[in-house]
């Protein structure tokens, strides 16, 4: 059955900002869907609030709306565009929920929009716990037994039904507060009792425990003729109890016999049929009792998911692309399997002749107060995938792709601890993100496979192989370098050991091991991912390295540009850099080069096998990159687009003779090296905040006295403001130097005078080595001191004078020329009393490049990469980027709600996971849309609470006046209240928490406050007001923690009812609603 002809236009909903649990995998699926449906001739209308995505590039759809993924906004888009159909399955849970809202609100019916890809009934059946249970019973599948308990009597009944151990979870509490695992009657009754108490609805759910069971996932695709295929089976290394997104996973499943695998296969297909997923991909999760093979179903997702992105990358089968085609009427047998150039149809099941390992990446160091134990709630922010011909190779490649500083199974346990074994046992039993390394340490400290299994239930099949790696390490350590014969070295490489790890073990340098390896002609070969285990010929150059015999790389003789990607997502380095890498690949392909991508993040568009001509799915380490370069011999390598990951390699690559194009590694170093950079600024007569470099505590204290407090302190060479703080006095500074950083001669600490109430400005510019073009000047909403990645910003600036902007532009030009920048350069300035200070310069792609591109309609990254290959700005007809006559606001999105106990206060260390963009005729409208897109709903009226620090009191009066005009009743703490009353503003005084009850937190808990303006400084005040921010977060009360944020909010509140929707295509033509 060919495609439907009754549909002409399709609305695709994206996933919005990157949050924990919903990352750039939905950019990958959404971009694939756009491409797949557009090539079928459909008009594609896209809505996604996330500007950092490839899918929101104006070329990807016919009408691209960077607007809030909220039913009311989407309803306006529907009204304007009148699409025939809505595809809700490509944008994660966000898109599904939005589609359900549109249906519930009658929007779809009103405008005659058909939901394709998943029906409302199917979504309901899959998402509603009770409906799902009934459906599963109907097809004979078992779920973990579950009961709801409100009181003691019900608890007793539940205990009889569920048995032990039982998992007890209070309803509607965050992070499972008040819950636990009961192993006996007493524990059961106790935990139920405290759970009922903790739950706002006095309700707990009691589940049968499948702790320690093996966990599996099946990725299934079904078409409307009921053709079903399994794309991939995935086995979790971490047994039940850890969210699958936080688990290390292996594909294909390794410890199932065919009999068991087929039972799971049959069950998965039955689930899709019963739930009613008629066209598209779904993910079905199972648990298996390792003792008797008993199978229970955990859940299913009736849409493409993080796992389906992983499965697509793992197999080479593009699930989202195929699902999109099925949604418009095709059947599987009518579609080609692209990776084999159509030699095979899409209606088959991929076969893998390699092992895929995924390891999640966590960022707990950003949230020291967060509970970092892994549970059923996902906490990781990114992931890395690796392929190898064996599990050991694949696992060790994945480990070094993570970029957490480990080179393999580095020891992790505290050797000085008295109770090493106790520590190890605890870490194995109650896992954190680093359990894998404790498994290795367990073997190092003499535990047997059986003992480790008994503690953590990781399948012995995996454990034995980890133990073997540790045995190899111990042996090598003992025998030393002389034991590294060609044969032995080759065997070790086949087990996946990195040169770096081997070097550590025998106390040599990485380069010595590399030399030994090359002298012995031990180099990896590259094998292709072809979805069919070599049964059919594949021309697609999707490759991974392995130490095996035959190399299938078959490099061409064309002129090649190689792009090094950004590795796993983390806070500070996310999808923005992937966007830049993908743009570079597109631009270089258009310019006639063969493009080569190297990356190891399975969620991304850059690792889609048709983004570049050739894809190497490899860790971004010096070793792996050099091995690829050896084979490919590229004309140029781009290191400035993938964030800190490739930049870190730049120096070593250059030493190895790799042709790095664009700004030279030396210039990059010049900009990063405090002392060299200071000299450069002096030479061109630009200002920095007074600053010092300290290599020990005493130097720091002395430097601080010279330049004065408050200070911004940070280690050199960091991204995302890692360990960056503002200190207000000597005690704070000493504390920071002693505890927060490991300061040394080679890694000094930088001290900058903190500029109070300065406006921060971000500028992106392109330079071809001669001319410099300002791409965008962005004015931050939050004042200097909040990390640029966390603050909202406006393009064009909303309060800076033209004169200041001109001055900024000329300073950027001077610096770009002085640094010999070829490509992109990002500069951060602080403006205090019309004085311009340079905060930092980064001659590389910045986080704001996609935002600036979307806001201006000029693909900055593409132009800059053309500069790198020698095409001048003039030859690209770019003399200046026109400043739009509308406002675009970028707003950041934070994971605080997932981390109970963490203060949602903004500071110099970056904490946001994603961003959204709002566009409007006025700054207020754009900011309002940014807030809505970030998930904030402005209260329409009600009670506002104001409590500000001394320096903000003047502006607080302005904010207060606005609030009164908008119809709010004001509450304030004593100091602020006095100021407001003096200014003639009516305001009621409330107690601070330490002033005794009833206080502000009581009011928040009683839901009597609707809006909060709360600014603080110094450690004590911050600690005092923590409970206000945290309670506000949990009670979903709108709050702002900066006075400038409050001012912007006032602008937004005034515009909240005049929100229009605009497609990028219209905006870039200058048409605005």
């Amino acid at each position: 059955m060919p495609k439907r002809t009754d549909i002409k236009s399709i609305l695709i909903i994206g996933a919005g900002p990157i949050i924990i649990g919903q990352a750039c995998e939905f950019d990958y699926s959404g971009a694939q869907a756009c491409k797949a449906l557009r090539e079928e001739g459909f008009r594609i209308i896209l809505v996604n609030s996330n500007p950092a995505t490839i899918m929101t590039d104006p070329e990807m759809a016919d009408a691209t709306y960077i607007e809030p993924v909220h039913w009311q906004t989407v309803a306006r888009i529907i009204e304007k565009e009148l699409p025939n159909a809505l595809l809700p399955t490509m944008g994660g849970q966000t898109a599904l929920n939005c589609a359900l809202d549109l249906d519930k609100q009658g929007v779809l019916k009103k405008f005659g929009v058909e939901m394709i890809g998943a029906s409302k009934d199917a979504i309901d059946k899959a998402e509603d716990r009770e409906k799902f249970r009934t459906a599963m019973q109907k097809i004979g599948l078992t779920m973990a037994k579950s009961e709801i308990v409100h009181n003691q009597a019900e608890a007793k009944v539940a205990m009889e039904i569920i048995g032990f151990p039982a998992i007890i979870r209070p309803s509607f509490t965050l992070g499972g507060t008040g819950g636990g695992i009961a192993y006996n009657r007493d524990e059961f009754m106790d935990i139920c009792g405290q759970g009922v108490e903790a739950s706002p609805t006095n309700e707990v759910q009691v589940d049968q425990s499948a702790l320690g069971w093996k966990e599996y996932e099946m990725e299934v695709v079904r078409d409307k003729k009921d053709n079903c295929i399994i794309i991939c089976s995935i086995e979790n290394l971490d047994p039940m109890g850890v969210h699958t997104g936080d688990s290390i996973t292996i594909a294909p499943a390794q410890t199932l016999t065919d009999k068991e695998y087929q039972i799971m296969r049959d069950a998965s297909i039955k689930v899709l049929r019963e739930i009613g997923v008629d066209t598209g991909g779904s993910n079905v999760q199972f648990a298996v009792n390792p003792e008797n093979g008993e199978l229970i179903i955990i859940e299913m997702n009736p849409r493409v998911s993080r796992s389906s992105a992983l499965a697509s990358k793992a197999t080479g089968f593009p699930i989202a692309r195929v699902a999109a085609k099925l949604a418009v009427g095709y059947t599987l047998d009518e579609l080609e399997n692209d990776i084999t150039d159509g030699a095979t149809p899409a209606s088959f099941e991929p076969s893998m002749d390699y092992i895929v390992t995924k390891i999640p990446r966590f960022t707990f160091e950003k949230f020291p107060q967060a509970d970092d134990r892994l549970t059923t709630q996902m906490k990781s922010v990114g992931e890395v995938m690796a392929m190898g011909r064996t599990f050991q190779e694949s696992l060790q490649k994945a480990i070094r792709g993570m970029e957490t500083g480990v080179t393999g199974f580095n020891p992790i346990v505290d050797q000085s601890s008295k109770n090493i074994l106790e520590q190890i046992e605890k870490e194995l039993r109650v896992p954190r993100g680093d359990r894998l390394w404790f498994v290795a340490d367990a073997f190092r400290h003499g535990l047997s496979v059986e003992e480790v299994f008994n503690i953590c239930s990781i399948d012995p099949w995996f454990l034995v192989q980890i133990r073997d790696l540790i045995d190899e390490e111990n042996k090598l350590k003992k025998e030393g370098v002389t034991s590294l014969t060609e044969n032995r070295l080759r065997q070790l490489k086949r087990k996946g050991f990195s040169d770096e790890r081997l070097a550590e073990l025998i106390e040599q340098s990485e380069s010595e091991i590399r030399k030994l390896r090359i002298d012995n002609n031990i180099r990896p070969v590259f094998k292709r991912v072809d979805s069919c285990a070599a049964e059919f010929e594949s021309a697609t150059a999707y490759m991974y390295s392995t130490y095996d015999v035959e190399c299938e790389a078959a490099p061409s003789n064309r002129q090649k540009i190689m792009i090094l990607g950004g590795g796993p997502n983390r806070i500070g380095q996310g999808i923005e850099f992937d966007y830049c890498c993908v743009q570079a690949a597109f631009a270089m392909r258009e310019a006639g080069y063969e493009t080569i991508m190297v990356n190891c993040n399975p969620e991304t568009v850059s690792t889609d096998y048709d983004t570049s001509d050739r894809l190497y799915f490899e860790p971004l380490t010096l070793e792996n990159v050099l091995d690829i370069i050896h084979i490919e011999k590229p004309h140029g390598v781009i290191v400035q687009y993938g964030g800190q990951t490739p930049l870190k390699l730049a120096r070593d690559l250059e030493i190895a003779g790799v042709p790095i194009i664009g700004t030279s590694p030396d210039s990059i170093d010049l900009a990063e090296d405090r002392e060299r950079f200071q000299k450069l600024l002096e030479d061109i007569d630009l200002k920095q905040p007074p600053n010092r470099t300290a290599r020990n505590v005493e130097q720091a204290v002395k430097g601080a006295e010279e330049i004065g407090y408050p200070l911004v302190v940070r280690p050199s060479y960091v991204l995302g403001g890692r360990a960056m703080e503002i200190v207000y006095n000597e005690d704070d500074l000493r504390n920071y130097m002693d505890n927060a950083v490991a300061v040394s001669n080679s890694s000094p600490v930088l001290l900058d005078r903190f500029l109070n109430n300065a406006i921060e400005v971000d500028v992106d510019a392109i330079s071809d080595g001669h001319d410099v073009c300002i791409a965008g000047i962005m004015e931050h909403i939050e004042q200097a001191g909040v990390h640029s990645g966390d603050s909202a910003c406006s393009l064009p600036p909303y309060s800076l004078s033209d004169k200041i902007q001109d001055k900024i532009a000329s300073q950027v030009g001077a610096m770009a020329r002085a640094l010999n920048v070829v490509g992109l350069m990002n500069t951060q300035f602080a403006i205090q009393n019309d004085e311009i200070y340079v905060l930092e310069v980064n001659p590389r792609a910045s986080r704001t490049i996609p935002f600036v591109s979307k806001a201006t309609g000029i693909s900055i990254a593409k132009i800059a990469v053309n500069c790198m290959v020698g095409n001048s700005l003039a030859s690209q007809n770019l003399t200046h980027v026109p400043v739009p006559d509308y406002y675009s606001v970028k707003e950041s999105v934070f994971p605080f709600i997932k981390f109970p106990g963490v203060d949602p206060l903004l500071g110099p260390e970056m904490k946001s996971t994603g961003e959204v963009m709002g566009v409007g005729k006025t700054f207020g409208e754009a900011f309002a849309k940014g807030q809505l897109a970030a998930g904030e709903e402005f209260p329409r009226e009600g009670n506002a609470f104001i409590s500000v620090k001394e320096i903000d009191k003047e502006k607080a009066v302005i904010v207060a006046k606005e609030l009164i005009l908008l119809g709010y009743k004001l509450f304030a703490t004593s100091g602020t209240c006095n100021v407001l009353t003096k200014a003639g503003i009516e305001c009621e005084r409330v107690n601070k928490v330490r002033e005794g009850q009833p206080h502000i937190v009581d009011m928040l808990k009683n839901d009597t406050i609707d809006l909060i303006v709360n600014t603080t400084e110094d450690k004590k005040a911050i600690a005092d007001s923590y409970s206000i921010r945290r309670t506000a977060l949990q009670h979903k009360v709108f709050y702002t923690t900066t006075i400038t944020g409050a001012m912007a909010t006032m602008e937004a509140l005034k515009k909240r009812d005049s929100i229009g929707v605009n497609s990028l295509q219209d905006l870039h033509k200058g048409v605005i609603a």
């Binding site: 003729k225 009921d226 053709n227 079903c228 295929i229 294909p252 390794q254 410890t255 199932l256 016999t257 065919d258 009999k259 068991e260 695998y261 087929q262 039972i263 296969r265 049959d266 390792p290 003792e291 008797n292 093979g293 008993e294 199978l295 059947t331 599987l332 047998d333 095979t344 149809p345 209606s347 088959f348 099941e349 991929p350 076969s351 893998m352 002749d353 390699y354 092992i355 011909r389 064996t390 599990f391 399948d459 012995p460 099949w461 034995v464 192989q465 073997d468 044969n487 080759r490 065997q491 094998k527 069919c532 285990a533 070599a534 049964e535 059919f536 010929e537 095996d548 015999v549 035959e550």
Partner: protein
Amino acid sequence: MRYRFLTDNALLALEDGSLFYGTSIGIDDESTGEVVFNTSITGYQEILTDPSYYKQIVTLTHPHIGNVGTNPEDEESSQVFVSGLIIRDLPMVMSNWRATENLRDYLIRHNIVAIAEIDTRQLTRHLRKHGAMKACIVAGDKIDADKSIKAAKSFAGLVGIDLVKEVSTTSKYNWIDGTRGLKDGIKPSYSKKEWRVIAYDFGVKRNILRVLADLGCEITVVSAQTPASEVLAEKPDGIFLSNGPGDPDPCDYAITAIKKIINSGLPVFGICLGHQLLSLALGAKTSKMKFGHHGANHPVRSLDDGQVLITSQNHGFSVDEKTLPSDLIATHRSLFDGSLQGVHHKKYPVFGFQGHPEASPGPHDSKQLFNHFIELMQEHKT
């Protein structure tokens, strides 16, 4: 075709002179056969014990083989039929709750020559390009490459050779076991026995018999050379023609018997080699394929309703659709290469399927073909 490790003590030599060194994981010995690749990720024990692999050396494309050990339930016959096994990696430990013996011990107990540490993808690509090859697999201290290449060349091949005779049962027997349930092991099928079925054993896989038993068949398995008259005298409700190894063409005794059985008007169902023999009996021709179909992911289109079935496949010969007589209709075609996958007679209740609806290993998508056999017997009875 690879650097040798010091530990290398086994060799695969192909007729074209290619050499693949590796580590022995079976007995020290020499064996010859046709080397083929199978892309199924699971089910190595079923593959090893499938009589259709007689005189074949199998390489499995999935790199880890042996993960789940072996167990008595997953055997498709009473012995290991492959002439050799070639894999990339034998895991250090088996892990599965049903495992009773690890793969290495199992191979040794069954006197199999087997090699690990081979670049099986390289071998697979070689076979894809050049076709299935005659090969010699050898393990022990006295490896002589030239001798092995000679041995490979001297292997008779599969074309024109009757292997069926060698694998078929010598005496007839009754079959009562059903398929394995989720929780219970394999045990006699307790379904009501409504159909008397005689199954020709050309190299039958146990799971075929188990599925038939589940569906209420009382099964007698007879030797390949049993004359039609003997079978018809038992007055069965239907005749089943099993899978089996090698070339169907030389099995003239079977072809003769099948012709008579078809003419009797009894329902007949043939799987794999049984399907080929059935087609030959009705006048079609078979030929050798380049590297055959061996895997568990093969899409087959059911021509009457267009449905795609993911099937388990294992054959090196196929029925040429162009040679089908006019009253034999093509019912299924491979979506990989368009080859014929199923036939049904216009007049007689007779049909055949090239893939393996009994799976084991592989998906169960085509299992309903067994129900069709039951339907035909039902119709025939009434």
